[in-house]
């Protein structure tokens, strides 16, 4: 399975994006990222959990304990208002980078 290293800051954006549809637990986030990137990014717990806790400390995420689909206790993460704002600004930023990189690569 091919993997690409996550760019610094990209993980945050991906996590925020996966949470726009509703709250998810750690494994759910990890699976969703793998799914929406078609397996390009696999997020290991060693990167995922520090990122989740850091983003929670930053006030972008809030967490709560809940039951999973198969009746297991799990910690769920959801976007806060600040998190939505952050997603917006990071998305804009990302689009700018993509355009800029695209231009650069085409024209160079």
């Amino acid at each position: 399975m091919s993997q690409t290293n996550l760019l610094q800051g990209t993980l945050d954006l991906l996590i925020l994006k996966t949470l726009t549809l509703g709250k998810l637990h750690g494994l759910g986030i990890s699976n969703r990222i793998e799914q929406i990137t078609k397996g390009t990014f696999q997020v290991k717990p060693g990167s995922l959990f520090p990122a989740l806790h850091r983003m929670e400390n930053a006030g972008w995420l809030e967490s709560s304990w809940g039951e999973s689909a198969n009746n297991r206790r799990a910690k769920y993460y959801a976007l806060t208002k600040a998190g939505r704002r952050q997603l917006k600004s990071e998305t804009d930023e990302w689009s700018r980078i993509v355009v800029a990189m695209g231009l650069a690569l085409r024209n160079a």
């Binding site: 494994l27 290991k44 060693g46 999973s68 297991r72």
Partner: protein
């Protein structure tokens, strides 16, 4: 804030849930439960590591970790009390010495003068061909004050002794006599009362005095009701108008101050109205923003104008000129080479101490490498480990620093009083926030350097597995570790060499100084100063009368074998009364200065009492009191210089162009008043019963204990004149010792620092060898088993140490040579590159190093092959 138990539990639950969910996914995909769980755990990649990384993103985590690590540092240090004690004491010595010496440098050299005019205060001098400073006349000072545009004020100054009555025993008080605007000019405000007012220097003005701070404290316990009190001084009632703040004892350590008119000599019409009657000194303050050079340029212009206007007062042949010298420079000129030397030595001691502790902590590091490697393998971050070691250094350094500052604070009083020997600014040496800030900054730098050692070591240690694999020695030392540590020890050897050379040179110089023959026999002679009340003994006849009475009364004092009076003391450091004279029948050489000598009035038994031999002719007798045919005695070298091969006995000399003639009756042995003076002092002796003086020195050669003699001397003086103070009672040995106080201090401090450095270096070296022996024990065991000789085994393990020493000596030699200028200025009769000293220091270091290497090497000889092979 730092209680994360709940969060940790929560995190545990979260990760467990993750693993469970993942396991469930795997089971769903068809794996057996056990295999599914294993796979989930594998993917998680170490639950503990994940937890550690999550903890690392918690807010405040850095601070928290530092607190934890500091606790950890204390704990590990407590577990190694030997290392901790050695490191703390070593650092305390280094930081203490550096802080103490810095407090001296800071107090004496780094600040502007503690007066309003600061460094703009200058001493005006008037050098001529015959004297480095002729001084100034009252008229000259007044004219300079009027003419100098670059100066905000010019004031006159001189120092004299008065007698103060009505406060216990009569006191001899050293009195600064100054222009009334002096204190306003230099910018000094009184702590209580006022300073002099314009007009108070007028001759006949109401007598007032200012007390110096030290005199006020010592004599009146800082009693502020002193203002307005009156004291009789000499013949007049003086009113205390104020007390000065603490000031440098410059130009003299005056007890009290009076306006210029209070001095009857200076205020005599002949002094006041003659341009060439120069008896005062001149001080001036340069205007703000004006450079010394510009002020000097104006002085040159004004000087040239004076020379043109009053040619008689400035004989062309004397090439007189006005020169402004910064007061601050004058106050610190002698102190500079001494303080630089002490500072360099203290800094070197600190460097040795730091290198030593760095070596110690590196060795400790080497011993702990397996533990550290294990912790890295268990997930400890390299940065965290390094931080823990850095904190350990920080704790050690600040503990050492606190102890060191304590030592410095305890020593500062002693250093201050010793510094009075070479600078009037000694009083400014004190512990203050600057010193504490310095010590703090020093600790920070030292901690950083010591912490850097294991860091550099860490860079060299790349392979954790390798460390873990190390076998029975329990330690690893890669080539780079050892190279760093050996470099540190080499540096210590070099520094110790430089310091010992410095100490050796100043010590040899001191020995030379102690050996200097002053021409007098200083043993068993008590001396005392009787400064006569000049208003009471105001004629030569009265002075002769009291001298005569003193001689009669003191003769036969119990325990005294001979008694003498003189107008000055042997071993005085400054010229008192340099007199020029002409010899009858010998033309003075043209151009040169002509015959001159220090004139001293003495009583008949002076030579016998102070132990100067009479080489030729005779000493004075009580019959030598004829003021029309005055007898004189000259010192030996003068005869050779001025009389050549002629017999001086019976020849006549005149000090005043023929008004008086003195007949030479004897030749006395040479004396040297300043021990460091390369030349002996030419002396012209005249009978005190003819040429009396207001400053009478008493000399008593004792054949018994001193204290009762001092008591009977005081009683005798009281009998003769109850108002006469007896001051400076000391033995001639003490007078001589005072000249050696400063080199003795320098030598003691420099030697103490150097010896400490040597001891530290020896322990560092010992550590290297001990480590080498531990490392090579198996090899040595094999060698011994194969029949190696003790000598060859010893040579094997000591070789490393001796290579370090040889290299250290080589570097030290170069450094000492490069720094020869620093010590050179302090040396007397010893060259800064004195071969004997260098050789002796090299021998001392080699000897010490041999012992330091030999002691741990002995363990190698005891290596038991059987034990070694068993891996013990």
């Amino acid at each position: 804030m730092f209680d994360h138990a709940h969060e940790d539990r929560d995190l545990d639950d979260e990760l467990r849930a993750y693993v469970d969910l993942r396991t469930a996914e795997h089971v769903k995909a068809g794996m057996s439960p056990d295999a599914a769980r294993r796979a989930a755990l594998m993917e998680t990649g170490g639950v503990e590591q994940v937890k550690e990384e999550v903890r690392d993103v918690r807010p405040g985590i850095v601070l928290e970790a530092i607190v934890q690590d500091t606790r950890y540092a204390f704990r590990t240090l407590r577990k190694a009390p030997g290392f901790t004690l050695a490191a703390v004491v070593t650092l305390a010595m280094g930081i203490g010495a550096a802080t103490a010496i810095f407090s001296m440098v800071n107090g004496v050299l780094l600040h502007r003068l503690p007066i309003g005019s600061g460094d703009r205060l200058v001493h005006l001098t008037q050098p001529s061909l015959k004297s480095p400073d002729e001084g100034f006349s009252v008229m000259e000072v007044a004219d300079l004050r009027r003419d100098m545009q670059t100066m905000s004020g010019v004031a006159e100054y001189h120092s004299m002794t008065f007698q103060l009555y009505g406060h216990g025993d009569p006191l001899r008080v050293l009195t600064g006599v100054v222009s009334d605007r002096f204190f306003d000019m230099i910018g000094v405000k009184p702590v209580i009362g006022r300073t002099f007012l314009p007009g108070e220097e007028a001759v006949g003005a109401a007598p007032v005095v200012l007390l110096s701070h030290a005199f006020w404290m010592s004599q009146f316990n800082g009693d502020s009701s002193i203002v307005g009190a009156t004291f009789t001084m000499n013949d007049k009632l003086h009113t205390v108008i104020g007390v000065l703040p603490p000031l440098p004892g410059y130009p003299n350590g005056n007890d009290i101050w009076m306006p210029a008119g209070a001095c009857p000599f200076r205020s005599a019409p002949s002094m006041m109205n003659m341009r060439d009657m120069r008896m005062v000194f001149a001080f001036a303050v340069i205007k703000e923003g004006v450079s010394l050079e510009r002020a000097q340029t104006e002085l040159n212009t004004v000087g040239a104008r004076f020379h043109q206007a009053y040619p008689a007062a400035y004989p062309e042949s004397q090439r007189m000129q006005f020169i402004a010298v910064g007061a601050r420079d004058e106050m610190t000129a002698r102190a500079k080479p001494i303080l630089y030397m002490l500072l360099a030595t203290a800094v070197f001691l600190l460097l040795v101490a730091v290198a030593n502790v760095a070596t110690l902590s590196l060795s400790r590091q080497l011993r702990r490498s397996r533990e550290l490697a294990l912790r890295v393998a268990l997930g400890a971050g390299g940065a965290r480990l390094y931080r823990q070691q850095a904190l350990e250094s920080l704790v050690l350094t600040f503990a050492g620093g606190a102890l060191g500052v304590g030592i410095a604070a305890a020593a500062i009083g002693l250093l201050r009083s010793l510094s009075t020997r070479f600078t009037p600014r000694a009083g400014e040496i004190q512990m203050n926030t600057t010193i504490f800030a310095f010590a703090f900054a020093l600790c920070a730098v030292v901690a950083f350097v010591i912490a850097a050692a294991p860091f550099v070591h860490a860079l060299g240690r790349r392979n954790v597995a390798n460390a873990l694999r190390q076998g029975n020695t329990g330690s690893v030392g890669t080539r780079s570790d050892l190279r760093l540590r050996n470099m540190l020890v080499t540096a210590q050897v070099s520094l110790a060499f430089v310091m010992l050379v410095g100490a050796g040179l100043v010590a040899r110089s001191l020995v030379e100084l102690e050996r200097v023959d002053a021409g007098v026999d200083v043993h068993n002679v008590l001396s005392a100063q009787l400064s006569l009340n000049f208003t009471k003994y105001n004629t030569s006849a009265k002075q002769v009368a009291i001298a005569s009475t003193l001689l009669e009364r003191l003769d036969g004092l119990p325990g005294v074998s001979s008694v003498a009076l003189a107008s000055s003391s042997p071993l005085r450091t400054s010229s008192q009364n340099d007199v020029r004279f002409q010899i009858e029948g010998i033309e003075p050489p043209t151009g040169a200065r002509g015959p001159h000598a220090e004139a001293t009035s003495i009583s008949p038994e002076y030579f016998k009492t102070v132990g100067i031999p009479v080489i030729h002719g005779r000493a004075f007798t009580l019959a030598d009191r004829d003021s029309t045919n005055i007898s004189a005695i000259v010192s030996d070298r003068m005869v050779k210089t001025y009389w050549g091969s002629r017999d001086p006995i019976g020849t006549r000399i005149t000090p005043d162009s023929g008004k008086h003639w003195l007949t030479i009756v004897g030749v006395a042995g040479n004396v040297r008043s300043s021990l460091t003076d390369p030349e002996v002092t030419d002396e012209l002796y005249v009978p005190i019963l003819v040429a009396a003086s207001n400053d009478v020195r008493v000399f008593l050669r004792a054949n018994g204990a001193m204290p009762p003699i001092e008591k009977s001397l005081r009683a005798a003086v009281r009998d003769i004149d109850p108002q006469q103070p007896v001051s400076s009672v000391q033995t001639l040995e003490q007078v001589r010792g005072a000249q050696l106080a400063e080199p003795r201090l320098t030598t003691t401090l420099v030697s103490a620092f150097a010896i400490l450095a040597l001891v530290l270096t020896a322990t560092g070296l010992s550590g290297v060898i001990a480590y080498g022996v531990t490392q090579r024990l198996p090899e040595i065991g094999i060698r011994i088993a194969l029949g190696a000789q003790r000598g060859s085994v010893l040579a094997l393990v000591m070789r490393e140490g001796l290579v370090i020493v040889a290299f250290g000596l080589f570097v030290g030699l170069g450094a000492s040579y490069a720094m020869r200028g620093l010590v050179g200025r302090l040396l007397f009769h010893v060259g800064a590159t004195d071969l004997a000293t260098y050789a002796a220091v090299a021998a001392v270091i080699l000897g010490t190093a041999a012992i330091a290497c030999f002691v741990p090497s002995r363990r190698a000889l005891k290596a038991d092959p059987a034990r070694v092979f068993r891996g013990g």
